[in-house]
């Protein structure tokens, strides 16, 4: 049984159909990536899974349990954590405080949480110097690491990453993706939404491509990458014409 299975998911914003009948699944321990250009519906998918947007129709089954209709707090407690687009660290709190709040989905003592946060700095040594700095003072790449650390603090069974490479310089993006590989080693299942198809397909076990709310392609990373249609999804039909 897949860890999470999405079937015929349709999500509407008012009368716009952001997702139309999307179906896919993620196996335990995998990194699955959802690709597509802006506006394709990638973030919408994650928001629906996290309970921020109620789907119009379709089902989302997590570890055998339907989670459609549950609120975000309940879904977080079930073990789904999201690192949202744009990081969204709490600007007025320090790096340590942000990370500690990642454990809010479970009961644990303050001391235990602090110890676990310490453990995060092992995984993200670059942010250790900033442990007591206010989150908003960090650079984009540093904030991304804090955001991922915060997500991991929830000890999630499924980690949703929304465009971790957004706005980051290529060198930093490489560092972030190295961390994603580390996460897989820790046996956390990851659903990675990305615009940067190249980097995403390098770490993923499986990939899907969304195009205007529908699933256009799905397959093993190497297959997807060499498929000309993936370029069409981003750059329009001109790519196939150009390479023809």
């Amino acid at each position: 049984m897949s860890l999470i299975e999405v079937k015929d998911l349709t999500v509407r914003y008012g009368e716009i159909e952001a997702l139309r009948g999307v179906s896919f699944c993620v196996e335990k321990g995998q990194i699955v990536t959802l690709l597509g250009s802006n506006g394709a519906g990638k973030s919408t998918t994650l928001r629906a899974i996290s309970g921020l947007n109620r789907p119009h129709s379709g089902s989302i089954v997590f570890d055998g349990q339907s989670i459609v209709g549950l609120g975000p707090e309940a879904i977080a407690r079930l073990g789904i954590a999201q690192v949202p687009e744009g990081r969204r660290l709490f600007p007025g709190l320090t790096v340590l405080e942000n990370i500690m709040l990642g454990a809010s989905n479970r009961k644990a003592s303050s001391a235990a949480i602090r110890r676990e946060a310490e453990g995060m700095f092992e995984l993200f040594p670059d942010i250790r110097p900033f442990v007591n700095s206010l989150a908003w003072t960090l650079s984009g790449g540093q904030q991304q690491m804090v955001a991922v650390a915060r997500g991991l603090m929830a000890k999630p069974r499924l980690l949703l990453l929304d465009e971790p490479s957004l706005g980051l310089a290529p060198v930093i993006v490489q560092a972030v993706f190295r961390i994603i590989e580390e996460i897989r080693k820790r046996e956390t299942t990851v659903l990675l939404v990305e615009q940067n198809a190249r980097m995403a397909l390098k770490v993923a076990d499986w990939g899907y491509v969304l195009e205007t709310g529908r699933l256009a392609l799905g397959g093993a990373p190497k297959t997807l990458w060499s498929d000309a249609r993936i370029r069409d999804a981003y750059l329009g039909g001109s790519q196939t014409k150009a390479s023809a």
Binding site: L52, R77, F90, P91, L101, R106
Partner: protein, 291 residues
């Protein structure tokens, strides 16, 4: 010089009360983006509760104090559920009007139940004040300043050094993100309202022995508290405290050197001037730039 110090002391005392009310008001604003025009009524209701328990029923002061604060906690919860919650997704205008309605409702319900006659609430201590050189330190004012310092210290510890305090801060900074982490947002908001009501209540009970306990005391204090938050910088916690103290001092000196009857008008004049020329107050508010 003695009189200046005396005015300073009195100004600080009354300013501390404004600071407490301003604090409760800023907390609600940061958590919910609501400007609670009924904040002053929390102070007024608490003062009347004290009168009922300590004066009418003659119960011990400390017991009456605890019961009054308990009543305020309940009022804060009801306020959250009845006034804020139904309108939480609407624009600011209905919410403002609704809190104004609540303020009038509270003030006039107390009036209907208790009558228009101002009441007298004795201070906690019968002890006279301390004479320090040329300055007479009234015992109630000393109590006000002491309690305010304690509360501010408590609040600082609570928000900066407890996990719950951090969760409350997180909720006020980004509700959606807090929910994504599993923080129970509705509970956090409830705690904020209850805490603010209790804070306002403490302010009311502290200041009541100095003024009369009257129906109008709430709105006067609230407006001064608003002025305080604007002076300090709207939305800023430290600003609320500094603004409150500053306003108390300005007002006291204004009454002494310019005119007593018009002293109430000073707060409002200062408010308008700040809004016109320095709306971000002394400490400024981090305003989002995106359109």
């Amino acid at each position: 010089m003695g009189s200046v110090l005396q005015l300073l002391f009195t100004g600080l005392g009354i300013g501390a009360v404004y600071a407490l009310v301003a604090l409760g008001f800023v907390l609600i604003f940061r958590a919910t983006n609501v400007v609670n025009f009924a904040q002053g009524e929390f102070s007024m209701v608490a003062a009347y509760l004290m009168v009922v328990f300590a004066v009418d029923l003659g119960w011990p002061y400390w017991l009456s104090f605890l019961l009054s604060l308990g009543g305020m906690a309940i009022l804060g919860a009801i306020f959250n559920l009845g006034v804020y919650y139904p309108l939480r997704n609407r624009s600011f205008l209905p919410v403002i009007i609704s809190t104004i309605g609540a303020s009038i409702f509270l003030a006039n319900t107390v009036l209907a139940l208790y009558g228009p006659q101002p009441q007298v609430l004795p201070g906690w201590f019968d002890a006279p004040g301390i004479q320090l050189g040329q300055v007479y330190l009234d015992s109630q004012y000393l109590l006000i300043i002491a309690v305010t310092i304690l509360l501010v210290a408590f609040q600082y510890w609570f928000f900066e050094h407890t996990l719950l305090g951090k969760k409350l801060q997180a909720t006020s900074q980004d509700k959606e993100m807090a929910a994504l982490l599993g923080i129970p947002v509705a509970t956090m908001i409830m705690i904020t309202f209850v805490y603010s009501a209790v804070l306002g209540g403490i302010a009311g009970i502290l200041v009541a022995p100095v003024l009369f306990v009257s129906i109008q005391m709430g709105s006067t204090i609230a407006l001064k508290a608003f002025a305080a938050t604007i002076i300090g910088g709207f939305g800023d916690v430290a600003g609320a405290i500094v603004g409150g103290l500053a306003l108390g001092i300005i007002e006291t000196f204004g009454a002494a050197y310019i005119s007593v009857p018009f002293k109430d008008a000073f707060a409002f004049l200062v408010l308008i001037l700040f809004l016109a020329f320095r709306p971000q107050g002394l400490f400024g508010e981090r305003v989002a730039e995106k359109a």
